[in-house]
Symmetry: C2
């Protein structure tokens, strides 16, 4: 039956296409629909059957990224324990999405009236709430606003993903470098 085929084949294809596109666009943000199709191992016609156009593809990538980020937010259990540990868990969990996040971070400035805006602000709010919780608990300094710490986290994730893909830093250090810089900064400290 058609809907069974749709459920079995098309779904996995769609997901595979999305992940291929994410991997490609992470490296080459100006990749053509044709390049995206080739990267996924399908023809441009089939790509067009799944995603009406480039906008629809980017929109689907946004939805995927939002979903993965929310999964990471859930897995990081932001409300549990010290906020700085929650930040470390968050960075660790969100690492797989960092590349896609970096792509969308620069791409979606075009779509000001973004259809996925609600999804992004929901994520922003959860992250900002974590920093706010840390400030309220006296863990985090209060001269850096939660909004800025959230932006900085995105920026560091993007820089980190890019630096790793360029071979400037080792992939295994990704989590440590981002979390430690965001939390502790560059200055050496006496206390443990």
């Amino acid at each position: 039956m058609s809907h069974m085929v749709y459920g079995c084949l098309m779904a996995v294809d769609r997901d595979h296409v999305l992940r291929s596109a994410a991997a490609l666009l992470t490296r080459k943000s100006t990749a053509t629909m044709d390049e995206v199709a080739k990267a996924a191992g399908i023809s441009r016609a089939t790509l067009h059957r799944h995603f009406a156009g480039r906008d629809a593809l980017v929109l689907a990538l946004e939805a995927l990224c939002i979903a993965e980020c929310e999964t990471a937010l859930d897995a990081a259990r932001l409300d549990d324990g010290p906020a700085h540990d929650a930040v470390r868990r968050l960075v660790r969990e969100i690492e797989p999405a960092a590349g896609l996040l970096a792509f969308l971070y620069t791409e979606s400035q075009l779509f000001e009236g973004d259809a996925q805006n609600k999804g992004w602000t929901r994520i922003d709010d959860r992250v900002a709430a974590l920093f706010r919780r840390g400030q309220a608990a006296g863990e985090f300094r209060i001269d850096l606003t939660p909004a800025w710490l959230t932006e900085a986290l995105y920026g560091l994730l993007a820089s980190g993903a890019w630096a790793v893909s360029e071979g400037r830093v080792a992939g295994k250090d990704f989590t440590h470098m981002i979390a430690e810089l965001l939390l502790g900064g560059a200055v050496r400290r006496e206390e443990s």
Copy 2:
């Protein structure tokens, strides 16, 4: 005489065009040559007379950005005094170029065999040397590599410029937020 006209008018025009283009492309990185021309208040034909094409324009913007960064590096006197003060001076001096830096940071990944590559690596080296000096002096922690600290600085400058242009953080806090996060991190400290 023609060379006098060239020296008086064309030079200032070229600089004005470059700065207009920088301001526009900072906000809309996919702006058309026509939009760039209109933003500079000139026609597309004149823009083409000054810059052979879009590549030439971006190349000139790179040269401008490199020059401004090096001026900032000089003004920050990276070799004087404590490294953390030098970092603060650097962030303050380089702030005007942050927007353009953010644009080129994402744009120039296309030009892998970049003609300006030498200029960028020269800047990278000077910044990395500053972090290395701070590490050698015991000011900075050594588990974060100079290369990563350099990348992180770029990422924070880009995030900061973008966040300011989006109105998410106040422009007057730009220097403080970037320098303090980079140096001290989010975690509150007991010592002074």
